[in-house]
């Protein structure tokens, strides 16, 4: 019997290639862990379909490159005939008629969708507590959050319910839960992965990316998703193939550590772990210099104008007319109000109202337009910083995983969880979070960001650091 806790996707692929196991056996082993979902990672599982696909792949004389290795998919990505809710009651029971491009590309490469993972409703949140359905628990400490919004996908990989998974990142929704769950999470350059089939939260920020237990697995999963999609005008041609990283050294690599993100508000244990990893950078031959992103202090405010503004329009389509549950009312306005009022959660409503206000006539210039201008300043900050350094480092999250319920009553404290990841998102840049140590027995994430389309450089540096740091991504007590 295969033990998924001892596996990475790469090891699973090697075992499949060597004939030591089959896709069917692999899927069964992971499904056993998915079905015993102590962490609340999954919202929907189609075991029969996963098993059937595995048998089909096992019967193929020529195996597709991913050979039937399972993948968990955040419930914000459309999967044909498999319930897709974006974590919201307003899409309860919704079975899409089409599959998101990124998922379809993985399936075409031989990956098997093992289930849909829990998330903050419409990807709005940093703890997955805003799910319309269930809590997800952190595999390192069941009383703590897994981070969010892709908390289910992060927990599933940390708990070895899948060797890798897909998340989406708007302001940190891949990197922050990766950090809190002690795994690798990568947000690609905006436009690298098609958004077709990604249920939009904030269109100008949303990106799909991988979670994995190793940097090489993350790179491999991403390599099958990137590239222009005619269904997404904002998707871009990938300038070079994604290469599996092999670097062991960082000779000549200049890493800038963001001064503004190492001060107040960052837990001492987090700061210490990040500082230790900067020492590792130097041991590997790299140099570490301080960099400043002076506009980044406005990142949170900027993000909480732009993202809600876009979401206020993006979520307007959920009106109960064409799909999802519909309230029965005497007139159209009541139908809209009862459907939307009753089925959206409080955080979603808060952001829709924020965004509607920010776009309102008479307020647009003061809020939305101004936020776009600050966004440009933040873009310029990064451009300026990248004149002197190759990569920019910071904590991924200012804290380790916090207790369930701790921040739900105070939205602003929840928003602060993304203070380190948001500036990178506003600039549309690629960034990776890797575990760099423990603080109070909980994982700490290191964020590395690079210029647009520097994913290969990021993977190389992250891989070298990962090897040198030697973090074990298996939470204690998780083993069989």
């Amino acid at each position: 019997m295969i033990d998924p806790t001892a596996l990475t996707a790469e090891r699973a692929l090697d075992a499949l290639a060597a004939g030591e196991t089959s896709a069917a056996e692999l899927v069964d082993a992971y499904l056993a862990r998915v079905e015993d979902d102590r962490w609340g990672s999954f919202l929907a599982v189609d075991a029969a379909r996963a098993r059937e696909t595995a048998r089909t792949i096992d019967a193929m004389p020529e195996k597709p490159p991913l050979r039937g290795v399972p993948v968990a998919v955040k419930d914000v990505l459309s999967t044909a005939d498999l319930e897709t809710t974006a974590g919201s009651r307003i899409l309860q029971g919704f079975r899409p008629v089409y599959t998101a491009t990124c998922v379809a590309r993985l399936e075409a490469a031989g990956a098997i969708v093992i289930g849909k993972t829990n998330m903050d409703e419409f990807a709005m949140g940093s703890s997955t507590e805003n799910s319309g359905y269930q809590l997800t628990r952190n595999p390192w400490d069941a009383e703590r959050v897994p981070g969010g919004s892709s908390g289910g996908s992060a927990a599933a990989v940390a708990a070895c319910q899948a060797p890798w998974s897909l998340g989406t990142d708007t302001g940190g929704s891949i990197r922050q839960p990766a950090a809190l769950c002690g795994i690798v999470g990568m947000k690609p350059t905006y436009g690298a992965v098609s958004r077709y089939g990604l249920i939009a939260f904030a269109s100008s920020l949303d990106q799909v990316g991988p979670f994995a237990r190793t940097v090489r697995d993350a790179a491999r999963l991403l390599s099958f998703m990137v590239g222009r999609d005619p269904m997404d005008s904002t998707s871009l041609d990938w300038p070079e193939p994604v290469v599996l990283p092999t670097a062991e050294r960082l000779d000549g690599v200049r890493v800038g550590i963001v001064e503004e993100l190492m001060g107040e508000g960052v837990e001492p244990g987090v700061r210490a772990a990040v500082e230790r990893s900067m020492a590792v950078v130097e041991e590997l031959g790299g140099t570490v210099v301080p960099v400043s992103l002076p506009s980044s202090e406005h990142g949170l405010a900027t993000y909480y104008l732009i993202a809600p503004a876009e979401c206020s329009a993006n979520l307007a389509r959920f009106d109960g007319v064409r799909y999802g549950p519909r309230a029965h009312a005497d007139n159209l306005l009541d139908q809209y109000e009862i459907t939307r009022g009753g089925l959206f959660g409080p955080e979603v409503k808060r952001r829709i109202m924020l965004g509607t206000f920010a776009l309102a006539s008479g307020y647009y210039d003061a809020y939305y337009r101004r936020a776009q201008k600050v966004r440009t300043l933040i873009v310029n900050d990064f451009a300026e910083a990248f004149r002197g350094v190759d990569l920019i480092a910071s904590p991924t999250s200012p804290t380790v995983a916090f207790p369930l319920g701790e921040r739900t009553a105070d939205p602003y404290s929840m928003y602060l969880a993304d203070v380190c990841t948001i500036p990178v998102s506003l600039a549309g840049l690629p960034a990776i979070s890797i575990p760099c140590g423990l603080s109070e027995g909980l994982p700490v994430g290191l964020q590395l960001a690079g210029p647009a389309f520097s994913e290969n450089r990021l993977f190389d540096a992250a891989h070298a650091l990962e090897q040198a740091i030697g973090f074990d991504p298996t939470p204690p007590g998780l083993g069989v």
Binding site: V97, D232, S233, T234, D319, R322, Y336
Partner: protein
């Protein structure tokens, strides 16, 4: 309609459906009259996660329209979202253009009976149409409807919105301007501008001011006008209403009005529908339109002779009347058909025949000349035969009817049916003599000076000769034979 001492100021917004194969932001085919919801996809139904992709052909047609209107084509233009909730708008926002439209700042010159007029064009922008709502109730009326259904076939249809400056001065001008603009857009293949099918709709902004004033009065908007007559009547009614209001000491209120063609009255649309804050913001799902300048130059160079220029040429060089010009430049097909005919016979004669007998005959069949059995060569042959006296004018009409029916060569029809003119020879003289002999009483009266009886004899002879005689020749012969006494 004239109001001494007052001047009306009118601007028009025109929506035309672009003649593309597919919708504005997805690959669904455009259709009219197909069963409901048979041309839909995740994009035009606004399924979760679906994204728009701009239709390149719609962009091309928008640019062509802009070039024909003398606009500047923006080097970069953006789409915006216009937000409002309604079941015919599945995304709850319309993708349109706002402060960076595709084309800006042109003009359009059109022809009035007393000369040419120029209307400045503010902008041309692209957007998508809403779906169609069907309100179902036993009485079929919207009020009290028990259910509403949505047909998304039309949802996402590409539209160009053309906005003019307030340069028009009457309902007639607005109607003439719009007719000639329509001919231009049809000629370019931008739109079929079929008002009955809704592929062309107009809104008019109307205000009045004392003649000689340069200030603008308070304007009202007449929405969704779908015929030239209603446009003219609606605007004229609104001008009269505004002047009457002001003359009686009241104020014009800025509002949106609906013109009821049955009663000729204007009714305000509910103010609730006006109170929208559309919260426009740039559409993040689409990249800006940045057409290659070389391509735009190519499109400019490819512009054909446009209907107004052609009409100017018809009236100035071919001696056609204002009405001839109007009718014959309505569609590029009709213009081409006319020009092929006019190349073979005198253009004015061709125009008269096309506008007169030919269209009258074809109207019963619901055909236009270029769709009919008649060829320009056939019509020209017939006209030439009439001019040469080979067939009488009345019989030419009979011949034309046969050609319309069967597409036969007119000369063959004349031969087969024996419709050739008799000339003024012995055969005709014998026929006239016979009719005179048969009607001695009338002959006597004519001889006695009752000239109106000449018509009676001509009619009798034409009847007796099955129309083959030339009525003028008959008249001469009747006088010669009856009227022994020369006057």
């Amino acid at each position: 309609m004239s109001h001494p001492g007052w001047e009306a100021v009118i601007g028009i917004e025109i929506h035309v459906q672009l003649q593309t194969r597919t919708k504005m932001f997805c690959g669904c085919e455009l259709s009219f009259g197909d069963p409901p919801n048979t041309h839909t996809c995740p994009v035009c139904l606004a399924h979760p996660g679906a994204l728009p992709v701009a239709n390149a052909e719609a962009v091309r047609l928008g640019i062509v329209a802009g070039l024909a209107l003398g606009c500047e084509i923006a080097t970069e233009s953006t789409f915006h979202r216009k937000n409002y909730f309604y079941p015919d708008l599945p995304k709850a926002y319309q993708i349109s253009q706002y402060d960076e439209p595709l084309c800006v700042g042109g003009s359009f010159t059109y022809i009035e009976e007393d000369g040419e007029r120029t209307v400045r064009i503010t902008r041309v922008h692209l957007e998508e149409d809403a779906a169609k709502l069907l309100h179902l109730s036993s009485g079929g009326r919207r009020a009290g409807a028990e259910q509403s259904a949505v047909d998304f076939n039309r949802g996402g249809t590409p539209l160009a919105e053309i906005v003019t400056e307030p340069d028009l001065r009457s309902g007639q001008e607005a109607s003439d301007f719009l007719k000639q603009l329509r001919a231009t857009l049809r000629e370019l293949g931008v739109s079929d501008c079929n008002m009955e099918e809704g592929s062309m709709r107009a809104d008019a902004n109307v205000s009045v001011r004392p003649a000689g004033s340069t200030e603008l009065g308070t304007k009202t908007e007449l929405k969704n006008i779908n015929s030239f007559t209603f446009l003219r009547r609606g605007i004229d009614a609104e001008i009269a209403r505004q002047i009457a209001l002001i003359e009686s000491g009241e104020r014009v209120v800025q509002e949106t009005l609906h013109f009821d063609p049955d009663t000729g009255e204007l009714h305000p649309l509910r103010s609730k529908e006006e109170a929208h804050d559309y919260r426009y913001f740039p559409e993040p799902d689409l990249v800006p339109i940045a057409p290659d300048p070389a391509w735009v130059a190519e499109l400019r160079a490819e512009l054909p002779e446009l209907p107004v220029a052609r009409r100017r040429r018809y009236q100035r060089d071919l001696g056609l009347s204002y009405e001839d010009g109007e009718v014959l430049t309505e569609t590029p097909e009709l213009s081409a058909w006319f020009e092929r005919t006019a190349a073979l016979v005198e253009p004015k004669l061709a125009a008269n025949w096309i506008r007169g007998d030919l269209r009258a005959l074809l109207a019963e069949r619901g055909e236009e000349p270029w769709q009919s059995n008649v060829t320009p060569e056939g019509l020209a042959t017939l006209i030439a035969m009439v001019e040469a006296g080979e067939v009488s004018r009345p019989n030419a009409k009979v011949v034309l009817a046969a050609v319309v029916e069967t597409g036969a060569d007119p000369r063959a029809v004349v031969d087969e049916q024996g419709l050739g003119a008799m000339g003024d020879g012995d055969e005709l003289r014998a026929a006239v003599e016979r009719v005179v002999a048969d009607n001695p009483k009338q002959a006597e009266q004519l001889r006695g000076g009752q000239d109106k009886l000449a018509g009676f004899f001509v009619g009798q002879v034409m009847k007796a000769t099955q129309g083959r005689a030339d009525p003028k020749a008959v008249g001469d012969l009747v006088r010669e034979i009856v009227g022994g006494d020369e006057r």
